[in-house]
């Protein structure tokens, strides 16, 4: 284009704002780290005020997370330990014992933009090959690309209903089944679903809400110092993203090490029967639907303990994690209209002391 653009706007798109430079929003950052340590947590929902850096935090993830090993040329980023081979593909005929080639890749953080069509989300017939060669071939979609990574939906409450239905199904089963245009394909699609949005624009269906393991509420900071810091850092980043990112590299590296350490410690973190009972008591006190609340609570507490370097799950971990793990699972009580966060906090205080 002929028109001259100011320099700083040119480069912002390439480099993401560093995760460690995000001011405040501790609950959101913690939820993201927990999902990074244990992706089985089942997704994060970030709801709250505008201009609080919801998208910034998620988009910073790709640069933050430690790289992972994947099969070379695999459209599903599959793990070399258990390579996924689509049925009927030429490689399935080759000897299964031959070692697969693998390489290190960044953990995929896939954006599902509004306006995406169903065929691109689940995958569809490869148009190019169908048109030019008349061949029926499957072209993987966004769900395939997000396998073993993160799938991010900004403004999740504005997503088309039929896409929501698809996601609910895939997020629960970890497998994407495509039956369309004469194709029949199933492939793994295990990802951490990250949704963000503003509650004023509509609420989420309870079924989709339930798929999110953790739900985080973000608010704009109201203290001047914090706000000045946010604005300054943003400004510095926009003026020179490269230098700014360089400055925060060490901090990012620290967080990365914490994630790696957390992942290695995770299987060893002890959950005593007493702790399990605690979680059950808490869920019963709050009357959460189903068992997913219990499971998520224990899982998140374990991941948090691993992240903190603790050997066993205790009340400390439950206290910190109860609100994000449970607040979106409460039934509305007609005689108690206080916010769900308050209700969770109250139940925690009753059970475990302040």
């Amino acid at each position: 284009m002929p028109c001259v653009q100011p320099q700083y706007t040119l480069s912002t798109m390439a480099i993401a704002f560093p995760f460690s430079a995000i001011v405040g929003q501790d609950e959101m950052k913690l939820a993201i780290l927990i999902a990074a340590v244990d992706p089985a947590i089942g997704g994060i929902l970030v709801f709250g005020d505008r201009g609080t850096g919801k998208s910034t935090a998620v988009r910073a993830l790709a640069a933050l997370l430690p790289k992972m090993r994947a099969v070379v040329g695999c459209a599903y980023n599959s793990d070399p330990a258990h390579p996924f081979v689509p049925e009927g593909s030429p490689s399935s005929q080759s000897s299964p014992k031959s070692p697969v080639k693998s390489h290190l890749i960044s953990v995929p953080v896939v954006d599902l933009p509004l306006g995406a069509t169903e065929d691109r989300v689940v995958g569809a017939l490869d148009l190019e090959r169908a048109l030019s060669q008349g061949v029926k071939a499957f072209e993987p979609g966004l769900l395939a690309r997000a396998n073993r990574g993160f799938l991010y939906i900004d403004e999740v409450n504005l997503l088309e209903d039929h896409l929501v239905d698809l996601l609910i199904d895939v997020a629960a089963s970890g497998e994407n089944v495509v039956e369309r245009e004469g194709l029949s394909v199933r492939h793994p699609a295990r990802f951490v679903l990250v949704g963000s949005g503003n509650p004023e624009e509509g609420e989420l269906r309870p079924q989709l809400l339930d798929r999110f393991g953790l739900s985080v509420e973000v608010k704009t900071p109201t203290d001047l110092a914090g706000r000045v810091e946010v604005v300054k850092r943003r400004d510095a980043f926009e003026r020179d993203p490269t230098v700014f990112t360089e400055q925060w590299k060490k901090e990012d590296e620290k967080i990365r090490k914490r994630i790696v350490a957390g992942r290695t410690r995770l299987p060893a973190v002890l959950i005593s029967d007493a702790a399990r009972e605690r979680a059950a008591q808490l869920c019963m006190a709050l009357g959460t639907d189903g068992l997913r609340g219990d499971l998520t609570l224990i899982r998140a507490a374990r991941a948090y303990a691993a992240l903190q370097g603790d050997a066993a799950v205790t009340d400390v971990h439950f206290k910190r994690i109860a609100a994000p793990a449970l607040r979106h699972r409460l039934r509305r009580n007609p005689l108690d209209d206080s916010g769900s966060t308050v209700r969770v906090d109250r139940a925690v205080a009753e059970l475990m002391g302040a």
Binding site: R50, G115, E200
Partner: protein, 615 residues
């Protein structure tokens, strides 16, 4: 003032996001637009986005014609991609669907268009500014907040707004400003001052101060200076922060002070500073290093800062104040007043979200695009979309299933999975449910007014095709005087026969209102409950008399109404506004409007406002 906005935006359309231009289509608006066009460098793309644009045209998609003739998929760029490096104009921005606004917001955020459509996966860099042409007139017609938050300027064009000193910008000034823009520095004082002003004005989003800083930078660039000075900061505060104000700075709100112009004119520097310092201390969110517990001579600085001399500290405070003052002076008239009545009802109504207000319908309403699906249950086949979906596969299908040689025409292969049906959007009807206190305490004063108001609203309903229902309560029961209707004659008749007197069974009335509102909701309409009462119930749910029990029951009933997610409005009809009524309104999540001596006209106006906000 508005021409400064044009100049600033022309310097950095992408960084500033754009402007929301609130004005009807008028010579004034055309003038502004042509000025803006003149200032943009030659060749800058300018595209117009029509209302209800579909995704293919907005974002891009598969170019069917080219694809078929070339035999390989060919992408078609959307309006946004075509406008890269320039500006898009959003027509009738106040009616833009939330979805379109969100797509635009995503582009402004990421500066690229992400296309995941029709078998294409593309990311095109798109840097653009948005000129949202907001033709809204009433307070409830607003550009979607998600979009407004990403536009630096909110401008209301007015005919006699000719206070421009520097309206003679030329395109070459802009070009020069663009060149030096990356080199312009902003001092920490300016950043702090703008952040403080945003906080004091109740501007919560952090995008606003960021935009203010960018705007200040553009202003400096226009002046050919490499440093942002106080005047630039004040201008930015006036243009970016003031129109977003949700509160007056505590100086004015808390205490009775002389009007600002007097303050500025008579006393020089010291007095206003003392005042605002004192008030900043009262403000809960104020920062320790900014508020008044430090004496002016001995600034109590945080330890990590290098101790600057007093001169600099006072300078930064003076700057913060002048920035705030500038912003305050520019707060449009009536903005805050509008917030008071409109906002409360609006926030709740929006929170209720898609369920009530706008419904997707299969059969009628405004077309809202097509989706894959079979024409069943009365939904209509969209022939164009179906053929479009079938088109790319023709060659493949022809090969699998060739047309018989003796056929006259080549067959078009349409299969089941190609079927697309049209979706429609239908705004649901509003039913205003009046709950009228006809008890002894209220009847005397207000019953006639309530009747008058209902009649006025009914007249209005002929135009808006809304329904009205009336529930009256007195003695021990609540009685449905008028089931939801549009019939003026019937309503008048039943209202005329409404007698007054007896106890106030408030809880029973609220329960009855909730039940009726639920029924209305289930029919797919949006209920609005308007409760006219003095809030002094004296009959409990079980029919026994006694104020304490009655009040208890009433507040329980009110909470249940709130949890049912019903928009409500409480008009306090007692001669003196009552605390009890206000508390009840709060429990109900209702907007509280005391109407000590208002006539039927006033009642009807308030209700119309609330119902408009609920849509």
């Amino acid at each position: 003032m508005s021409s400064v906005v044009a100049a600033l935006l022309a310097v950095d359309p992408c960084g500033l996001g754009g402007v929301s231009l609130r004005a009807l289509a008028s010579p004034l608006r055309d003038e502004w637009l042509s000025l803006f066009k003149k200032l943009l460098p030659a060749g800058t793309p300018l595209r117009r986005i029509p209302l209800n644009i579909n995704d293919a045209a907005l974002l891009g998609g598969l170019d069917l014609g080219a694809t078929l003739s070339a035999g390989r998929p060919i992408a078609q760029q959307g309006v946004l991609a075509h406008a890269d490096g320039g500006v898009v104009m959003l027509a009738m921005a106040e009616r833009v669907p939330l979805g379109t606004a969100a797509r635009l917001a995503a582009v402004l955020d990421t500066q690229e268009v992400a296309i995941e459509r029709d078998g294409l996966a593309l990311r095109l860099p798109v840097r653009l500014g948005v000129v949202a042409l907001d033709e809204g007139m009433a307070d409830d017609e607003q550009v979607p907040a998600a979009l407004l938050d990403r536009l630096a300027f909110l401008v209301r064009l007015k005919p006699n707004d000719q206070d421009d000193e520097d309206s003679d910008w030329q395109a070459k000034d802009i070009a020069f400003a663009r060149e030096i823009l990356p080199r312009i520095s902003v001092s920490d004082d300016v950043v702090k001052a703008l952040c403080a002003a945003a906080l004091a004005l109740g501007v919560h989003s952090l995008r606003a101060p960021i935009f203010a800083i960018r705007a200040a930078r553009c202003a400096a660039a226009l002046d050919g200076l490499l440093d942002v000075n106080d005047a630039h900061a004040a201008l930015a505060a006036r243009l970016v922060l003031a129109p977003r104000a949700t509160q007056l700075p505590p100086t004015q709100a808390d205490t009775e002070v002389p009007p600002p112009d007097e303050e500025q004119g008579d006393q020089q520097k010291d007095q206003p500073k003392e005042q605002s310092k004192a008030q900043q201390a009262e403000q809960p969110g104020a920062q320790p290093d900014k508020n008044g517990d430090e004496s002016p001579d001995q600034p109590d600085l945080p330890p990590d800062e290098t101790p600057p001399n007093n001169e600099q500290d006072t300078r930064s405070e003076a700057l913060a104040e002048s920035v705030l003052e500038a912003a305050q002076a520019a707060i449009p008239d009536g903005l805050l007043a509008a917030l008071h009545v409109g906002q409360a009802a609006k926030a709740r109504a929006q929170a209720a979200g898609r369920s009530g207000a706008v419904q997707k319908s299969q059969t009628r309403g405004r077309p809202m695009g097509a989706r894959r699906g079979e024409p069943r249950a009365g939904s209509r086949l969209n022939v164009m979309e179906t053929l479009r979906a079938a088109a790319p596969w023709q060659r493949l299908r022809e090969r699998q299933n060739p047309t018989p040689l003796d056929a006259k025409h080549k067959r078009i292969h349409v299969r089941r999975e190609d079927f697309h049906v049209t979706r429609f959007k239908q705004s649901s009807q509003t039913t205003t449910l009046f709950v009228v206190d006809a008890s002894g305490s209220s009847a005397l004063n207000r019953l006639a007014e309530a009747k008058g108001a209902v009649e006025l609203l009914l007249a209005d309903c002929y135009v808006r095709r809304d329904h009205v229902a009336v529930l009256a309560f007195r003695g021990k029961t609540a009685e449905l005087l008028l089931p939801p209707t549009r019939s003026l004659a019937r309503a008048k008749r039943s209202l005329a026969g409404l007698p007054g007197g007896g106890g106030t069974p408030l809880a029973t009335a609220i329960d009855a209102a909730r039940e009726l509102a639920d029924q209305i909701k289930r029919r797919g309409e949006t209920p609005i409950v308007v409760l006219l009462t003095d809030g002094r119930g004296n009959i409990a749910r079980d029919g026994s008399s006694g104020r304490a029990q009655a009040a208890d029951d009433a507040s329980t009933a009110a909470r249940q109404l709130r949890l049912a997610g019903i928009t409500a409005l409480l008009l306090d009809t007692s001669p003196q506004p009552q605390l009890a009524a206000e508390a009840l309104a709060q429990e109900m999540g209702a907007a509280y409007v005391p109407l000590p001596y208002a006539g039927a006209q006033a009642v009807s106006r308030v209700v119309q406002l609330a119902s408009a906000a609920a849509k």
